[in-house]
Symmetry: D3
Subunit: 172 residues, 6 copies
Amino acid sequence: MAAKRIAILVDDLYEDLELWYPYYRLLEAGHQVDLIGSERDRAYTSKHHYPAKAVKSIAEVRPEDYDGVVIPGGYAPDRMRRDERMVRFVRQIHDQGKLVAAICHAGWMLVSADVLRGRRATSVRAIRDDMRNAGCEWVDEPVVVDGNLVTSRTPDDLPAYMKAILAKLGEA
Amino acid sequence: MAAKRIAILVDDLYEDLELWYPYYRLLEAGHQVDLIGSERDRAYTSKHHYPAKAVKSIAEVRPEDYDGVVIPGGYAPDRMRRDERMVRFVRQIHDQGKLVAAICHAGWMLVSADVLRGRRATSVRAIRDDMRNAGCEWVDEPVVVDGNLVTSRTPDDLPAYMKAILAKLGEA
Amino acid sequence: MAAKRIAILVDDLYEDLELWYPYYRLLEAGHQVDLIGSERDRAYTSKHHYPAKAVKSIAEVRPEDYDGVVIPGGYAPDRMRRDERMVRFVRQIHDQGKLVAAICHAGWMLVSADVLRGRRATSVRAIRDDMRNAGCEWVDEPVVVDGNLVTSRTPDDLPAYMKAILAKLGEA
Amino acid sequence: MAAKRIAILVDDLYEDLELWYPYYRLLEAGHQVDLIGSERDRAYTSKHHYPAKAVKSIAEVRPEDYDGVVIPGGYAPDRMRRDERMVRFVRQIHDQGKLVAAICHAGWMLVSADVLRGRRATSVRAIRDDMRNAGCEWVDEPVVVDGNLVTSRTPDDLPAYMKAILAKLGEA
Amino acid sequence: MAAKRIAILVDDLYEDLELWYPYYRLLEAGHQVDLIGSERDRAYTSKHHYPAKAVKSIAEVRPEDYDGVVIPGGYAPDRMRRDERMVRFVRQIHDQGKLVAAICHAGWMLVSADVLRGRRATSVRAIRDDMRNAGCEWVDEPVVVDGNLVTSRTPDDLPAYMKAILAKLGEA
Amino acid sequence: MAAKRIAILVDDLYEDLELWYPYYRLLEAGHQVDLIGSERDRAYTSKHHYPAKAVKSIAEVRPEDYDGVVIPGGYAPDRMRRDERMVRFVRQIHDQGKLVAAICHAGWMLVSADVLRGRRATSVRAIRDDMRNAGCEWVDEPVVVDGNLVTSRTPDDLPAYMKAILAKLGEA
């Protein structure tokens, strides 16, 4: 399997494990991972104040440079979606048919990127109505794979989530 | 003007001023106000850990007992909307034609109560897409009054928000 | 009623609602409000770490430019009174016969400005002895108006406090 | 030198070192020390959340059982002085001619116990006006000894403060 | 590959990712994992206050019931090693020839279990001297495998660490 | 008794009282004390975030300039021992036959400075094994004096610890 280049989006209040488990897991599998924030070299902090430094800013990356994007939950997506560049990046990755993975509240980024119409997906229960209103068939399952879209509900789904993501990267 | 009975919903992570400014302001105007949470007598804490004790639980209140509901923002609405009883309470107050006021992220409760179809409303910018997907015409104004629905954007809109709420209660 | 120009003093450890309720309430009533600290543009934080940015420093304001001063409680007054300029500002506003309003521990500023001799006033119970020693008749009432001096006890008195302040501004 | 029995008063928000330096120093000198709070066995926390467990409640101690009282600063004295039993205990120790030591904001307890009339004393600068209004000659010195009254200004005065306290206990 | 039963030890101040990455990674690989603390059902908190509930207490587990033990770093090992039952559990797992994995400050548990004599191992740099004094050849490498002993240095070694652990479990 | 020059080492996470009690106690006894950190003028914070500013950096001090070194516990020693200059400073003070005092987890610095072989010493129970592996006879006593080496276990030993330190400075 060839190494892939994966973008992980970051902002303050990200859910600790929903960022770091995918981060280290992708590295363990041999992929290349970049943490991308609104500002380069800024140390964003998780819901529990665990620091995560963005190695690149959203202003300097191009969707062409990545094979997929992985979005953590927590309340970080509530912040990310206010940045049009972040939203556009996700939409473009999606439109290029590459992996778009979102767990928990990260579904809000799928809503704002408008990539849910006619899709099957899941998320944390709290944003179910937002997901449905954005046009998806919302189901209550540990992980849902619909084409290039991989979604999960909570940290406890991380093993199933990463298995699906790695399978998707392997098949690409 | 006759005193009205107003319900203010509360949960952890409420935005401090979006709860307390309406609370004291309604009292100052001579109205009766109840803080209502999922549990009675529990001290919920704001984003900045300011305590707010619920005097009643959502299980023991009836929409008939109130003349309106005021919903604070912060991330409290992300929690409230997981409680079907909270959502139903807002919908019933709305369906009875009484005041429903929501500021900032409180718009999520309007989404889940499904009271936005065909309405004009505002909210914090971050949830604009969720508001639109729920069927409203979203505008960027300090306060929007559409029938019994009063919505605002952020703490800085509190003066305009409360003026509109008090006017609405006075006209009823 | 003509709009008045009101100074609200701020320092770290201010009581959250005793600053922000008067702030937004005065704006709602159509007055102009300036947050004034020992340093301009510094973000002071409340007892619960709610930020409040001073738009002007005490060094650059003149009592002539204001129609009154409102002082929040918390432990901010314990800090403010160490700054002679803050104390002098309150005394001068007072000597010009303009509104001086103090709630809770803000009474300490009245003590240091020496404006309590022969007056009737209240405060949080804890500083009652300091108030009496400064020469006032201390009473346990929600709000006490004695000439241009308006005093209250705790956040729960905010509705009565602001009613009295607004009445005072309206009569001026 | 005979061992003395010393009461140290405690409440939340005590200044860490102003409690613990006297505590260990008195023990090192061979004296017996009791931490006394409004509730027995409660763990009070300092300004920095350092825990201090009260071994006795103010309800169960008698001034006759102690040779002196030492009062820490921080904002603990603002709480202690609301408890009439605490204030009375200090006044009685004083009236029995025994050691009363107060540092920093602990001067507030001397104000409320009304033991400052005609005395020479110091305190943190912030409460100078309250001390003066209570009738003392306030001076800006590291430690002031006036009969059985020992007062200091801030943590940096602790060495001079404890030297004076120990000398006072030794001469008794 | 058959599923293994793995014990992960937990105590307050554990390094967040050094516990949770192995936890979810082992689950993803199909193994069974138990979090074991000094008390059952207690929620221990990480250096950043991320909660981790122990499903079993050290008092109720037997080394015979597990195929290996994984020990997180942070300052949790400084607490674990005070509990003789925790130390004995690690020594017995080791003496039964099963996997013993330790990252960062978890080396302290290997020191106290006295399983380092004559072995090759690594750890966070800070405890290098303690490791050497306990008899091991200390090297500065991302992961060191010496028989049933797997050691790593810091969170950034997690991918290499887990690869080695999974390889070891697969070969058993 | 002549005044001595004492170095107190500091780093983040120092145990509050294990630094400040010796600090003020040595000053009270008439000695000169310098707080020394890896960086000059940096404010290190204790386990409870009490600030302590280093007046000198380890880079600019010479063992010849001091009559002894006192090392606080907490997790600060886990940081100090990573700095070879800190470790060397302690070893040189020791080799010059001057006072070396360590309480609680400060024993780690004695381990890394390799000054424990053949000595009698104590420490917090948690690091007993590291102390023994470094060659000392570890005993469970409030304070242990072995030549120029003075060691104690926890904050509650501070009175005995300082008595022994002061006696040692007096006899030199």
